[in-house]
Protein backbone atom coordinates (compact mmCIF):
# COMPACT_ATOMS: atom_id res chain seq x y z
CA UNK A 1 0.00 0.00 0.00
CA UNK A 2 1.52 3.26 -1.08
CA UNK A 3 0.57 5.17 2.06
CA UNK A 4 2.41 2.73 4.29
CA UNK A 5 5.33 2.76 1.89
CA UNK A 6 5.48 6.55 2.01
CA UNK A 7 5.25 6.56 5.78
CA UNK A 8 7.99 3.96 6.23
CA UNK A 9 10.33 5.48 3.66
CA UNK A 10 10.11 8.91 5.18
CA UNK A 11 10.30 7.42 8.64
CA UNK A 12 13.67 5.95 7.69
CA UNK A 13 14.79 9.28 6.32
CA UNK A 14 13.48 11.07 9.38
CA UNK A 15 15.68 8.83 11.53
CA UNK A 16 18.82 10.13 9.90
CA UNK A 17 17.88 13.75 9.48
CA UNK A 18 20.60 15.09 11.71
CA UNK A 19 21.49 18.67 11.13
CA UNK A 20 18.50 20.08 9.34
CA UNK A 21 16.51 19.80 6.19
CA UNK A 22 19.40 20.00 3.74
CA UNK A 23 21.30 17.23 5.42
CA UNK A 24 18.76 14.72 4.24
CA UNK A 25 19.40 15.56 0.61
CA UNK A 26 21.89 12.71 0.18
CA UNK A 27 19.41 10.28 1.71
CA UNK A 28 16.54 11.57 -0.37
CA UNK A 29 18.67 11.17 -3.45
CA UNK A 30 19.62 7.65 -2.52
CA UNK A 31 16.29 6.38 -1.32
CA UNK A 32 13.61 8.39 -3.05
CA UNK A 33 15.29 9.15 -6.35
CA UNK A 34 17.49 6.14 -6.93
CA UNK A 35 15.81 3.30 -5.07
CA UNK A 36 12.13 4.13 -5.11
CA UNK A 37 12.21 6.28 -8.21
CA UNK A 38 9.46 8.46 -6.83
CA UNK A 39 10.90 11.56 -8.38
CA UNK A 40 13.92 12.65 -10.34
CA UNK A 41 16.89 14.46 -8.87
CA UNK A 42 15.71 17.51 -10.80
CA UNK A 43 12.27 17.39 -9.25
CA UNK A 44 13.81 16.92 -5.83
CA UNK A 45 15.85 20.07 -6.20
CA UNK A 46 12.78 21.89 -7.46
CA UNK A 47 10.94 20.90 -4.30
CA UNK A 48 13.79 22.23 -2.23
CA UNK A 49 13.63 25.48 -4.17
CA UNK A 50 9.89 25.85 -3.67
CA UNK A 51 10.41 24.80 -0.08
CA UNK A 52 12.36 28.00 0.45
CA UNK A 53 9.16 29.91 -0.12
CA UNK A 54 6.76 27.79 1.88
CA UNK A 55 6.29 28.23 5.60
CA UNK A 56 7.57 25.68 8.02
CA UNK A 57 10.36 23.23 8.07
CA UNK A 58 11.90 22.37 4.73
CA UNK A 59 12.30 18.65 5.27
CA UNK A 60 8.60 18.43 6.07
CA UNK A 61 7.71 20.44 2.99
CA UNK A 62 9.83 18.34 0.68
CA UNK A 63 8.31 15.17 2.14
CA UNK A 64 4.90 16.71 1.58
CA UNK A 65 5.59 17.44 -2.07
CA UNK A 66 6.86 13.97 -2.80
CA UNK A 67 3.98 12.44 -0.89
CA UNK A 68 1.49 14.48 -2.86
CA UNK A 69 3.10 13.54 -6.15
CA UNK A 70 2.83 9.86 -5.32
CA UNK A 71 -0.56 9.73 -3.68
CA UNK A 72 -2.33 13.04 -3.46
CA UNK A 73 -3.47 14.60 -0.20
CA UNK A 74 -3.19 11.46 1.89
CA UNK A 75 0.19 10.71 0.39
CA UNK A 76 1.30 14.10 1.56
CA UNK A 77 -0.06 13.47 5.04
CA UNK A 78 1.59 10.07 5.41
CA UNK A 79 4.93 11.27 4.11
CA UNK A 80 4.85 14.17 6.55
CA UNK A 81 3.86 11.94 9.45
CA UNK A 82 6.66 9.59 8.48
CA UNK A 83 9.35 12.18 8.53
CA UNK A 84 8.43 13.75 11.86
CA UNK A 85 7.63 10.63 13.86
CA UNK A 86 11.23 9.54 14.57
CA UNK A 87 11.94 12.95 16.09
CA UNK A 88 8.89 12.81 18.32
CA UNK A 89 9.78 9.34 19.56
CA UNK A 90 13.46 10.07 20.14
CA UNK A 91 12.84 13.36 21.89
CA UNK A 92 10.17 11.80 24.07
CA UNK A 93 12.61 9.08 25.09
CA UNK A 94 15.37 11.59 25.77
CA UNK A 95 12.96 13.83 27.67
CA UNK A 96 11.80 11.05 29.94
CA UNK A 97 15.11 9.41 30.74
CA UNK A 98 17.59 12.20 30.67
CA UNK A 99 17.13 15.14 32.93
CA UNK A 100 20.10 16.75 31.42
CA UNK A 101 20.50 16.22 27.73
CA UNK A 102 24.24 16.58 28.07
CA UNK A 103 25.45 13.06 28.76
CA UNK A 104 29.01 12.71 27.56
CA UNK A 105 28.69 9.40 25.74
CA UNK A 106 25.78 10.79 23.77
CA UNK A 107 27.87 13.80 22.88
CA UNK A 108 30.78 11.69 21.63
CA UNK A 109 28.41 9.60 19.55
CA UNK A 110 26.70 12.64 18.10
CA UNK A 111 29.95 14.44 17.37
CA UNK A 112 31.03 11.43 15.38
CA UNK A 113 27.75 11.42 13.50
CA UNK A 114 28.14 15.09 12.68
CA UNK A 115 31.33 14.23 10.79
CA UNK A 116 29.42 11.70 8.73
CA UNK A 117 26.74 14.26 7.95
CA UNK A 118 29.36 16.71 6.73
CA UNK A 119 30.94 14.09 4.53
CA UNK A 120 27.61 13.09 3.03
CA UNK A 121 26.50 16.65 2.43
CA UNK A 122 29.77 17.73 0.85
CA UNK A 123 29.83 14.69 -1.40
CA UNK A 124 26.22 15.10 -2.48
CA UNK A 125 26.58 18.84 -3.00
CA UNK A 126 29.67 18.28 -5.13
CA UNK A 127 27.83 15.79 -7.35
CA UNK A 128 24.86 18.13 -7.69
CA UNK A 129 27.04 21.08 -8.55
CA UNK A 130 28.86 19.09 -11.21
CA UNK A 131 25.52 18.26 -12.78
CA UNK A 132 23.74 21.58 -12.45
CA UNK A 133 26.31 24.29 -12.86
CA UNK A 134 27.12 23.95 -16.49
CA UNK A 135 27.78 27.42 -17.75
CA UNK A 136 28.69 30.92 -16.70
CA UNK A 137 25.05 31.89 -16.09
CA UNK A 138 24.68 29.10 -13.58
CA UNK A 139 27.97 29.92 -11.94
CA UNK A 140 27.04 33.57 -11.70
CA UNK A 141 23.72 32.77 -10.06
CA UNK A 142 25.42 30.34 -7.70
CA UNK A 143 28.08 32.79 -6.60
CA UNK A 144 25.64 35.67 -6.48
CA UNK A 145 23.21 33.89 -4.21
CA UNK A 146 26.06 32.60 -2.07
CA UNK A 147 27.29 36.15 -1.64
CA UNK A 148 23.81 37.32 -0.72
CA UNK A 149 23.55 34.77 2.05
CA UNK A 150 26.59 36.31 3.69
CA UNK A 151 24.65 39.54 3.92
CA UNK A 152 22.12 37.83 6.17
CA UNK A 153 19.30 38.30 3.71
CA UNK A 154 16.52 35.82 4.26
CA UNK A 155 16.33 32.86 1.88
CA UNK A 156 12.74 33.70 1.08
CA UNK A 157 13.69 37.15 -0.15
CA UNK A 158 16.63 35.87 -2.17
CA UNK A 159 14.59 33.26 -3.99
CA UNK A 160 11.64 35.60 -4.52
CA UNK A 161 13.96 38.29 -5.83
CA UNK A 162 15.69 35.87 -8.15
CA UNK A 163 12.35 34.51 -9.31
CA UNK A 164 11.11 37.98 -10.18
CA UNK A 165 14.37 38.72 -11.96
CA UNK A 166 14.24 35.55 -14.00
CA UNK A 167 10.58 35.95 -14.91
CA UNK A 168 11.22 39.58 -15.83
CA UNK A 169 14.12 38.68 -18.08
CA UNK A 170 12.40 35.70 -19.68
CA UNK A 171 9.21 37.50 -20.46
CA UNK A 172 10.87 40.60 -21.80
CA UNK A 173 13.50 39.02 -23.99
Amino acid sequence: MVYLDLFLSFFKIGCVSFGGGYSILPFLNKHIVTTKKWCTEEELLNYYTIGQLTPGVISVNVAGFIGYKMAGVFGSVFATLGIITPSIIIISILASYLHNLNQSYLIYLLNGIKLAICILMIDNLYQLMKKNIKNYHHLLIYLGVLALTFLNISNVIIILGLLILIIGVKFNA
Binding site: S17, F18, G19, G20, G21, P26, K30, E42, L45, N46, T49, Q52, T54, P55, G56, V57, V60, N61, G64, Y68, K69, S76, T80, I84, S87, I88, I90, I91, S92, Y108, L109, L110, N111, G112, I113, L115, A116, I117, I119, L120, M121, D123, L125, L128, N132, I133, H137, H138, L139, I141, Y142, L143, G144, V145, L146, T149, N155, V156, L163, I167
Partner: protein, 176 residues
Protein backbone atom coordinates in the same frame (compact mmCIF):
# COMPACT_ATOMS: atom_id res chain seq x y z
CA UNK B 1 -6.63 21.27 29.06
CA UNK B 2 -6.97 24.88 28.07
CA UNK B 3 -3.18 25.23 28.10
CA UNK B 4 -2.82 22.47 25.60
CA UNK B 5 -5.30 24.08 23.26
CA UNK B 6 -3.61 27.46 23.51
CA UNK B 7 -0.13 26.01 23.01
CA UNK B 8 -1.38 24.04 20.03
CA UNK B 9 -2.60 27.25 18.46
CA UNK B 10 0.76 28.84 19.21
CA UNK B 11 2.58 26.02 17.47
CA UNK B 12 0.29 26.35 14.47
CA UNK B 13 1.19 30.02 14.42
CA UNK B 14 4.91 29.25 14.59
CA UNK B 15 4.51 26.72 11.80
CA UNK B 16 2.82 29.34 9.68
CA UNK B 17 5.24 32.19 10.27
CA UNK B 18 8.59 30.45 10.12
CA UNK B 19 9.84 30.72 6.59
CA UNK B 20 13.07 29.63 5.07
CA UNK B 21 14.52 26.84 7.12
CA UNK B 22 14.77 25.33 10.52
CA UNK B 23 16.50 28.19 12.24
CA UNK B 24 13.67 30.50 11.23
CA UNK B 25 11.55 28.97 13.97
CA UNK B 26 13.91 30.14 16.67
CA UNK B 27 12.76 33.74 17.19
CA UNK B 28 9.17 32.50 17.43
CA UNK B 29 10.14 29.71 19.80
CA UNK B 30 11.92 32.22 21.99
CA UNK B 31 8.83 34.44 22.10
CA UNK B 32 6.63 31.48 22.91
CA UNK B 33 8.93 30.29 25.67
CA UNK B 34 9.15 33.68 27.30
CA UNK B 35 5.47 34.58 26.96
CA UNK B 36 4.29 31.46 28.69
CA UNK B 37 7.33 31.19 30.94
CA UNK B 38 8.02 27.69 29.81
CA UNK B 39 11.68 28.06 28.92
CA UNK B 40 14.30 30.72 28.28
CA UNK B 41 16.82 31.52 25.57
CA UNK B 42 19.53 29.43 27.19
CA UNK B 43 17.33 26.40 26.90
CA UNK B 44 16.75 27.17 23.25
CA UNK B 45 20.49 27.36 22.67
CA UNK B 46 20.85 23.95 24.31
CA UNK B 47 18.09 22.64 22.08
CA UNK B 48 19.81 24.05 19.00
CA UNK B 49 22.93 22.12 19.90
CA UNK B 50 20.84 19.03 20.48
CA UNK B 51 18.83 19.61 17.32
CA UNK B 52 22.08 19.64 15.37
CA UNK B 53 22.68 16.18 16.69
CA UNK B 54 19.30 14.57 17.00
CA UNK B 55 17.23 13.69 14.00
CA UNK B 56 14.63 16.17 12.99
CA UNK B 57 14.33 19.89 12.72
CA UNK B 58 14.55 22.02 15.81
CA UNK B 59 10.93 23.07 15.50
CA UNK B 60 9.71 19.50 15.81
CA UNK B 61 12.22 18.78 18.56
CA UNK B 62 11.03 21.76 20.57
CA UNK B 63 7.36 20.98 20.01
CA UNK B 64 7.93 17.37 21.04
CA UNK B 65 9.98 18.27 24.08
CA UNK B 66 7.57 20.87 25.40
CA UNK B 67 4.65 18.60 24.60
CA UNK B 68 6.20 15.66 26.34
CA UNK B 69 7.01 17.64 29.44
CA UNK B 70 3.47 18.98 29.64
CA UNK B 71 1.47 15.89 28.88
CA UNK B 72 3.53 12.97 27.76
CA UNK B 73 3.87 11.31 24.40
CA UNK B 74 0.40 12.15 23.10
CA UNK B 75 0.86 15.87 23.66
CA UNK B 76 4.30 15.66 22.05
CA UNK B 77 2.55 14.30 18.98
CA UNK B 78 -0.17 16.92 19.31
CA UNK B 79 2.19 19.90 19.31
CA UNK B 80 4.33 18.47 16.52
CA UNK B 81 1.28 17.98 14.34
CA UNK B 82 0.18 21.54 15.12
CA UNK B 83 3.56 22.77 13.94
CA UNK B 84 3.44 21.01 10.60
CA UNK B 85 -0.23 21.58 9.86
CA UNK B 86 0.25 24.92 8.07
CA UNK B 87 3.10 23.44 6.02
CA UNK B 88 0.97 20.51 4.95
CA UNK B 89 -1.90 22.72 3.85
CA UNK B 90 0.32 25.09 1.90
CA UNK B 91 2.30 22.27 0.33
CA UNK B 92 -0.84 20.49 -0.81
CA UNK B 93 -2.23 23.65 -2.37
CA UNK B 94 1.02 24.42 -4.15
CA UNK B 95 1.56 20.82 -5.24
CA UNK B 96 -1.89 20.77 -6.76
CA UNK B 97 -1.17 23.92 -8.68
CA UNK B 98 2.30 22.73 -9.62
CA UNK B 99 0.87 19.58 -11.14
CA UNK B 100 -0.95 21.71 -13.67
CA UNK B 101 1.78 24.11 -14.64
CA UNK B 102 4.84 21.89 -14.30
CA UNK B 103 4.82 20.79 -17.89
CA UNK B 104 5.00 24.27 -19.27
CA UNK B 105 8.45 24.75 -20.83
CA UNK B 106 8.75 28.27 -19.48
CA UNK B 107 8.16 26.98 -15.95
CA UNK B 108 10.80 24.34 -16.43
CA UNK B 109 13.22 26.94 -17.74
CA UNK B 110 12.68 29.05 -14.64
CA UNK B 111 13.32 26.08 -12.38
CA UNK B 112 16.50 25.29 -14.29
CA UNK B 113 17.82 28.72 -13.47
CA UNK B 114 16.77 28.51 -9.83
CA UNK B 115 18.69 25.31 -9.27
CA UNK B 116 22.12 26.92 -8.90
CA UNK B 117 20.47 29.30 -6.42
CA UNK B 118 19.21 26.45 -4.29
CA UNK B 119 22.62 24.81 -4.45
CA UNK B 120 24.09 28.08 -3.23
CA UNK B 121 21.66 28.12 -0.29
CA UNK B 122 22.64 24.56 0.57
CA UNK B 123 26.31 25.51 0.33
CA UNK B 124 25.68 28.46 2.59
CA UNK B 125 24.06 26.34 5.26
CA UNK B 126 26.92 23.87 5.03
CA UNK B 127 29.38 26.44 6.33
CA UNK B 128 27.96 26.79 9.85
CA UNK B 129 27.37 23.04 9.96
CA UNK B 130 31.04 22.46 9.21
CA UNK B 131 32.03 25.05 11.78
CA UNK B 132 29.91 23.41 14.45
CA UNK B 133 31.09 19.93 13.54
CA UNK B 134 34.80 20.60 13.33
CA UNK B 135 35.82 23.77 15.03
CA UNK B 136 34.81 23.31 18.63
CA UNK B 137 37.09 20.58 19.91
CA UNK B 138 39.61 18.12 18.54
CA UNK B 139 39.65 19.90 15.20
CA UNK B 140 42.69 18.18 13.76
CA UNK B 141 41.61 14.76 14.95
CA UNK B 142 38.13 15.27 13.51
CA UNK B 143 39.52 16.55 10.24
CA UNK B 144 41.84 13.58 9.92
CA UNK B 145 39.07 11.10 10.65
CA UNK B 146 36.73 12.90 8.28
CA UNK B 147 39.23 12.93 5.42
CA UNK B 148 40.03 9.27 5.87
CA UNK B 149 36.36 8.31 6.13
CA UNK B 150 35.55 10.45 3.09
CA UNK B 151 38.09 8.53 1.09
CA UNK B 152 36.85 5.17 2.40
CA UNK B 153 33.26 6.19 1.74
CA UNK B 154 34.04 7.00 -1.88
CA UNK B 155 36.27 4.05 -2.55
CA UNK B 156 34.10 1.39 -0.93
CA UNK B 157 30.84 3.09 -1.91
CA UNK B 158 29.57 2.75 1.63
CA UNK B 159 25.89 3.05 2.36
CA UNK B 160 25.27 6.42 4.02
CA UNK B 161 23.76 4.84 7.10
CA UNK B 162 26.80 2.63 7.50
CA UNK B 163 28.96 5.72 7.33
CA UNK B 164 26.90 7.30 10.08
CA UNK B 165 27.22 4.23 12.27
CA UNK B 166 30.96 3.99 11.77
CA UNK B 167 31.49 7.67 12.45
CA UNK B 168 29.30 7.48 15.50
CA UNK B 169 31.40 4.63 16.85
CA UNK B 170 34.58 6.51 16.03
CA UNK B 171 33.16 9.43 17.95
CA UNK B 172 32.72 7.22 21.00
CA UNK B 173 36.11 5.62 20.50
CA UNK B 174 38.06 8.80 20.19
CA UNK B 175 35.83 10.76 22.58
CA UNK B 176 35.34 13.41 19.95
Amino acid sequence: MLEIFIYSLEFIKIGLLAFGGGLATIPFLKEFGLNYQLFDLEFIVEMIAIAESTPGPIGINMASYVGYKIGGFLIAINFSLALVLPSLVVVIIIARYLKNINHHPKVQAVFKLLKPATLALISAVLIPIIKISFLKTNTILKLSIAIIMFYIYRQLKLHPILLILICGLLGLLFKL
